[in-house]
Amino acid sequence: MNAVGGADDNVTFTGNRALMLEEALIFEIGSTETTGVDFDETAPAADFGALARTAPIGLPGLSESETVRHYTRLSRQNYAIDLGLFPLGSCTMKHNPRLNEKVARMSGFADAHPLQPQETVQGAYAVIHELAEWLITLTGMHSVAMSPKAGAHGELCGILCIKAALEARGEDRRVILVPESAHGTNPATAAFAGFTVEDIPATEAGRVNLEALKARLGPDVAGVMITNPNTCGLFERDMKAISDAVHAVGGYVYCDGANFNAIVGRVRPGDLGVDAMHINLHKTFSTPHGGGGPGSGPVVLSEALAPFAPLPFVTKQGDGFRLIEEESAGEDHPQTFGRMTAFHGQMGMFTRALTYILSHGADGLKQVAEDAVLNANYVLRSLEGVLDAPFAASGPCMHEALFSDKGLAEGFSTLDIAKGLIDEGYHPMTVYFPLVVHGAMLVEPTETESKAALDQFIGALRSIAMRAKNGDPALKSAPHFAPRGRLDETLAARKPVLAWED
C-alpha cells in the first residue's frame, strides 16, 4: 500500500480516510498461487501435447475473505440508485424492486439451459409469452420480437425488419431519415445496416420539423427513426402526421422507445402509426443496470413488419409452447430475416420485467407514467427561474426536464454544475446531451422519487446554479468530497493504459 504520511493533517498513512477507503488492484494484492475456491478432488495430469498451456497466465487469486473485502470496498466507491436520486435523463434510473431479483434466481429460470428439450422448459417459454402479450397490448402493436439483447440491438432488429420488408417488395431504398434530436445510436444503427443517414432538423420548440421532413420524403426513403418522447423531453405532437406522411411514400416508421416509461398505459404507439419500436426493459420495467448492463430490447412490430421478425421465438401451441427455430421457420415464418443472437434473448431480464409488470398491473403502470411526468414537470417548473429551460414554453415536458448553460458566469459550464452536485451527494444529471441544446442538462427524476426527495434535490441544484451564476471559484474544482477529484480524461485517451502490466 501507499504510505502517504506527512506533515499535512489531511494525509493518512494508509490512504484511507475513515469510511472512505482506498483499494489496490487485484494484481497488486493477489498472487497466482492463492485461490478462494476449494475443490473436493485433484485431477491427474492431462496430456494435451503441444496444446498444453505452459507459460503462466498471470491471473491473481484471492482467498474468499479477501475477495469479499476487495469487492465490498470497491462497491463503496460507486453511486447507485439504492443510495439516492440518480437523475440521468434518457437513462431512467428508478428503484429496482428486490422481488425481481428473487424471482430471476429461481432455479427453473436461472439454472435452465437454452437448448434443453422443449418439454422441459415450458415454464420459461410461458414467461416469454406472457411478457410478449403484455408488451403487445401496452403498445397496441401486432407482435413482438423478444431476442434483441439491448436497446441498440433492438434498433438494429427494427431496421433489419424494415430492410427485409423493402426487399420483399423488391425495392432498394437507401435512405433513413434521423432527426437531430435522436439518440446517437439511431444513426449508427442505420449506417451499420448499410443505409445512408440524413439528418432532419428540429424546430425551435424542440420537436421534429414536420415541413422539413415532408420536403425530404420520396421514393428513396426507407424510413424514419424518431425518438418519442424525444430527447428534449417533449412529446412529438405530430407523430401521427409524420407516420402518415412516411407511409404515404412507402416508407416505415421506427420509434426509439427508450422513453416509453413516460407514456406506458397512457398512449399506445400503435395508435400513432409506428411500425417498429424497441422497449428498453431495464428502463421502463426496471431491471437493474449493474454499472452498464445487461439491457434487453424487445421490439414491437406492426402487422406490415411482423413477418420479418428474427428467430428464434416462442409460439403457443395447444396447451403448451413451442420454440420456432431455423428448422421450423420454413413453414411457419418463411420471411424471417434470420437470427441476431445465439439463443432467445435476455431471460433473466424477462423474469424481472414480468415481475415488475405484474406487481404494477395495468392501473399501476399508468400511474408510473403519470408520476414520472408529474415529477419531471415539478423539477422543470421549480428550477426554470434559476436555470435556463430552453423549451419550457413548448408545453409540459414528459419524463425529463431539459436545461441549458445559458446565464452562467464567464468560464463556468454545465460540467461545473454536474461536479458540484457530486459534492452535495447526488449523481449528476445527463450532461451535454441532447446535442441540440448548448451545455445541455437533462434531468429525469422518475416516478420512484418522493416529493421530499425532489424538494431537497431542487434546493441543492438551485444553490449550485446560483454559485455558477455568481462565479464561485470553489465550484470550478469540484468535486472536493468524492473518492476522486476530476479525472484527466485527455491523458487516458492520449496514452491509453487499458490493462495491468507488471
Binding site: 494484481f27 485461490t35 484471492l62 441498440a152 446517437g184 431471460m347 414537470n377 422519487e449
Partner: protein, 452 residues
Amino acid sequence: MRYLPLTSDDRVAMLATIGASSIDDLFVDVPAEARLDGPIAGLPMHASELAVERHMAALSRQNRAAGDGPFFLGAGAYRHHVPASVDHLIQRGEFLTAYTPYQPEIAQGTLQMLFEFQSQVARLLGTDVANASMYDGSTACWEAIVMARRITKRAKALLSTGLHPHYRSVARTMAKYTGDVLVDGDPSLEAGTDWAALADSIDKETNCVVVQYPDILGRIDDMTKLAEACQSAGALLIAVVTEPVALGLIKSPGEMGADIVVGEGQSLGVGLQFGGPYVGLFACKTKYVRQMPGRLCGETVDANGKRGFVLTLSTREQHIRREKATSNICTNSGLCALAFSIHMTLLGEAGLRQLAAINHSRAKAAAAELAKVPGVSVLNTGFFNEFTLLLPTEARPVIHKLAERGVLGGVSLGRLYPDNAGLANGLVVAVTETVTEADIAAFAAALKEVLA
C-alpha cells in the same frame, strides 16, 4: 402501489406548483385520439408481492432445472459451480443499481472492476487488450468480423465449419445487409478439424478467418500455422472461445497468433440463465484497439495526482461519431462482467488450472463410460470438457427419451443442423465439475436402455 412514494396530497400540491389543474394537462401534447383515459383493457390490475411471487414460482416449477438431475448440455452454454460469494457481491446495491460510469469520480468501483476485468480477459485469451464486455459471444463474433473488414478493407470472411451454428447464423443475418461475403458450411464428422483447407482458401479478398476453439464438436487443434497463413495473406485470424475454462489447461488463441479473440464468458460467474444475459469477451492486439467496438476503461490520474479510471477512447463510439461509429453498441454486460471477474479472482490462476483439470478428467471418464454403450463411439481424438458421441440412430428422439428417464443428455446435432441428415446421429456431450460419477452412470444406463 408499493414502489410509488407520491401521496394524493403530494400530487395535488405539485400540480399547483406546476400550474396545472389535473394530470391530463401534462399530457396535452398527446393527440386526443391517441390518449387513453382508463387502464388499458384486457390486462390485470396490480398485485401483492406474495401473489406475484406465487405466480412466478409456479412458472419456474414448470421447468426442469439443470440441478434437478444428471445434466450434460453444453454447445455454447456451460454449467459450472458458482461460489456463493459471487452472487452475494453482485447483489450489493452499489454494483447492482449503478449506471454506466459516466461520472468517474463517483463510479470508481465499477471502473476499477472493469479495468481488472479487461486485464484478466486479455491475459486469459493471450492478447494485449480487451474491452469491458459485449452482449454475448455470438454478437461479439459478428462485431469481430465487421472489425476485420474495417481494418483490411476487404469483403470476404471465411468461417470455419467448426463455428457454433448459431454464431454462424448471426453472421449470415448481418452479412445479408452489409454486403459481406461469407464462406461457411457444416462440419463433417471427422475427428480432427480441417484448418489446413481453411488456410488454403485464403485469398486476396479475405479479411478474416474465424475459428472456434474448442469447436462445436469439442475438437481442439493448434492454430499456429493458420495464424501464419493469415498473416502472410494480410488477413486477420479471429478465434472464438465459448468455454473459457478450457484456457486454464490449453494454450490461448493469442499465444498461437490470433489477432482478435472473442468469446462467451458465461461459464464463469454468470450461470445458464436460459440463454441470457451472458457476457461477450472481446480482445485484440494493441495496434487494432481504435477499431475495437464497445466500451473501454483506461487508467489515468485525478486532479490530486491519485490513480483513477475512466471510460476512454470514446471517439469511436456512437454518441460522438453517430453514423461513423465503429459500432452502434451503447451498453455492455457490466453486471455479468463483474460476476465473471469475481469468479476469476476467487479461482486465481491456481484455481482455474485445477478447475480445468477436474473438468477434463471428468469428461474423459464420461467419454470412456459412454463409449461402452453398445453402438456408441466417441468422435474426438482430443477434447477439453465436451465431445461428440456417434450414436447408431438419430440423436434427436434419443434426447427426449433420455429426458423422460430424468437425464438431460446433451445437445443433438440434429437440433443444431436440422438440414444436414449426415450429422443426425451426433450428440454433443458436455461434462463439467458439476457432474458426478453417479450422473455419468445414470446417463450410460439410460442411453443403453434407450438404444436397446
